[in-house]
Symmetry: D2
Subunit: 299 residues, 4 copies
């Protein structure tokens, strides 16, 4: 039986110690916090915010393991298994499945600039190699490739392709995918500043990074907009969240500020790995003020 | 003494056998051809056309080795050492230097979306780790990051940053870099359809992929435009080349068609590695017709 | 007392006779239909869909007159008074006010590419010349100028600037304007494929062209989404409308298909004026099929 | 016999008196200066820099008249006759011909967003209405419409369409047009920062606004690059000019700074007309410094 994914799925940061190693204790603590105090509906290690691209293969494996073991079946774990060649994506994906992942998060292979036909072959290869659901992830700003609704609809023919995280920034993509393949594929919002819009269009969930340190707000928005259908309350909360969401999304320092935000709520996760660097003191102070306004209390 | 790079530098394809392994014999043969019959001025293994992103670390090392050994000092070898983390780029770069590379080709680390300040730190780390020249490589379409002239000028403060390959597609970048840092950094054209324009602006060379199978034409254009200053003859040759250059650049299948082109001149290099696939028969036939028109004879 | 505008405001087509003259009978008939059978909440002659840019000054005056006289106070009439110089925009605006317009629709003056400071001066001049509300209109695809939320917030300082029609295509503009100046300015959706998203964000209305021939559907969507707060029913209707909205918005022939659509519901409005031309028979047949699917019956 | 246009063609500013009227004395004086002291090869009243879009029909007529009478056959006069409807463009064009214009400068009709088929009809109508050469003008940033090389090649079938001014900003458009229709249509550079590049590709001339106050430099660049083929001297001059060209092109205040520049060389032309405003004192001081560096002497 295929588990149905819906709700708030944090793209987990990968905590690092001060000497740059993966901090598994902090990772397990963060996951525990997100599940028990944040009530999130799933977790996604090794996404963009998780800096998978800066981890070794061995580190990717241990991060997946820690995540799956800590979740311990309480919420589904989707593992990011992207890379820049088909062979490596298949390997990562098979490994994630063997470790017990409930699903995979998969953007287009980056740097290579495959055509749409080649992407169909690529995802077919992954589809054939695993038996767990695949969440496609359209993020042309990082991969150089735009997975259009036409392509998404075509990829939805593949048995395990059941979800898509839309991060193009164009919300008409969400409505077009739902309109054209709504029964076949479920859409997750992948742009923090389009969350409410995506929910009202029928998106079943939201994958983001800011949720690492603001889980209660994210979960409450999902409950209000999707489960309770209380549009006015949802809108009110959304507008309270938008200064933070918009600030971080448009900063050019998404991962850096998300890591800083974890520190601000008392769950330090260390610096990002190069080429990214820790947010400056000035950036942290600015973020702190925005979060305090949202929370209505000092951090 | 630092060797001065100028002229035609092919971004070498990485030949593959039919079962998908790197074909070192074909690679050595291609390099020998390009040097002895093509008279190219340097070679660049492990660039974008070389599918470095789809090779293992071990393969990257052996491709660099074969290239350096085959060149054997006859022309400089710049090794592409890019990756998506600073640590790995430094490692690849140190290894390339230890193998005898004459320089490095380095785009922004991909997928990570570093800020300009972070890119300065990143390239500083590479600069400090090696003693060979670095050719920056601006290709926002693949990396997601635009290395503007402002940033290039700033990076040119680093001792080993002596060259830039401009692949943004905007030729005013070439004139702006030369105008603002002309004495400090040398520009190589990185867009095949802007080669002649770049030369007349003062670019000292051209890094491309199509030169893998059209070396004589590329070298002749450089001689006419840069060395002999015969503008009219250069223009005439350029317009004869443009149907091929433009077709391949705008095809969305650059590496695929370059590999097909090598086959068309009798130097087969096998298929690209997934996610890329071999050009279709129809694509090859179309390319053949264009190349025959350029050559003025059947292939 | 300033009348509050909200709801569905058709950007009226300008009907033409077969010999290319403005057809005032058809215009009056269309307005009567929209008000009495469509229950629209206001009308806007001389917007983009009204081809104001292809009418003479005298024709603009008579179209405004016919619209105001036909509406006869039953619904507010906003008159498009845009042009490419400040002087002419002020003239058109004063004339519209003197004819009895309830408000003005005003994009940035086109072709001239004014700066944001110059736009502030421009709209200040119009603001000072009239005493009726101004609806700003951000349509960079036609005017060459992007009126960002920063500028909109600044323009909202002007006494008569009370509304903005957002047609940039980026729905985060809607939330940003509402978030930053929600008490001061009211947003109308100006992209047909973002109507529902805009409503849930707090947009108070929708200005469009397709409503010329689908008024009941547009009004019902507003009622469901804004007045009744029945999100699920609104979404269901929106998805039924989207094939038509999306087809026309992305056709590159917006005005042409809107005029064809009027013919399809039995209210022919003649051809557009050059440079636009009547939709082809093929285009009309395709549109007819889409509309019949939406209506659930043959036209 | 059709006169062949080539060389430097200033897009004339339209001088204004301090109370905002067209200043015909200043216009005649400017033209006299450009012809006798600047040695320009043609003049173009009523282009974008000439603010045609902010003039009345009567003013457009008198500006064309003054230009043609002052040129008095010494150099060809191309009159800008653009507008936003086909009917008005035809009228302006017939009038210009009857006043003695040697040719027409014609961008796509603005604001209307015609399709390529509709543009073909539009230009056919103008072509059929006159017997003088038409210079197409591709400026998508102002008109909202991109006249691609495909369309240009098609329009070149029309008898009077003999020239194209390329202002898209992409110099590969220049090479593509020349490559595909070189014998049929002559290209003028329409981006000041691409002048040298366009010349080496075979452009026969340059239409610009900065030439209003720097005619000698523009003419000398044409002589060096096109007539004398002295590439190195041309490049040297071009790099001396680029700080000014680049500053003005990227300022967002092209017409404003060109008018300011005329004042700086002792030929004041008054303010632009709203929505544009006079350059600020700070802008003028900055421009003055740049021009003095170019001239090598104080103004």
């Amino acid at each position: 039986m295929k588990r149905k994914f819906e709700g708030i799925f944090p793209a987990l940061v990968t905590p690092m110690t001060s000497d740059g190693e993966v901090d598994h204790n902090a990772l397990a603590g963060l996951i525990e916090y997100l599940i028990t105090e944040g009530d999130v509906h799933g977790i996604i290690p090794l996404g963009s915010t998780g800096e998978f691209y800066a981890l070794s293969d061995a580190e990717r494996e241990t991060v997946a393991k820690t995540s799956i073991e800590t979740a311990a079946g309480r919420v589904p774990v989707l593992v990011g298994t992207n890379d820049s060649s088909t062979e490596r994506v298949v390997e990562h994906s098979k490994q994630a499945e063997s470790l017990g992942a409930d699903g995979l998060l998969l953007a287009a292979p980056y740097y290579a600039l495959p055509t749409h036909d080649e992407l169909f072959s690529h995802f077919s290869a992954v589809n054939d190699a695993v038996r767990i659901p695949i969440m496609l992830y359209n993020y042309p700003g990082r991969t150089g490739v735009d997975m259009t609704p036409d392509l998404i609809v075509r990829l939805a023919e593949l048995e395990n392709v059941l979800y898509v995280k839309e991060s193009s920034g164009d919300v008409t993509r969400v409505s077009e995918i739902i309109r054209r393949s709504g029964d076949r594929i479920n859409v997750f919002c992948g742009c923090d500043c389009l969350a409410m819009e995506s929910f009202v269009l029928g998106a079943v969930g939201w994958v983001g990074g800011i949720v690492n340190f603001l889980p209660q707000e994210h979960v409450r928005l999902f409950e209000l907009a999707v489960q309770e259908g209380d549009l006015l309350a949802a809108r009110d909360l959304y507008y309270r969240m938008l200064p933070a969401l918009s600030h971080i999304e448009n900063s050019g320092k998404y991962t850096q500020l998300v890591k800083a935000g974890c520190g601000l709520i008392g769950r330090p996760v260390g610096p990002p790995r190069g080429p990214l660097e820790s947010a400056s003191q000035e950036d942290v102070a600015q973020l702190k003020a925005i979060i305090e306004t949202l929370k209505g209390s000092a951090l």
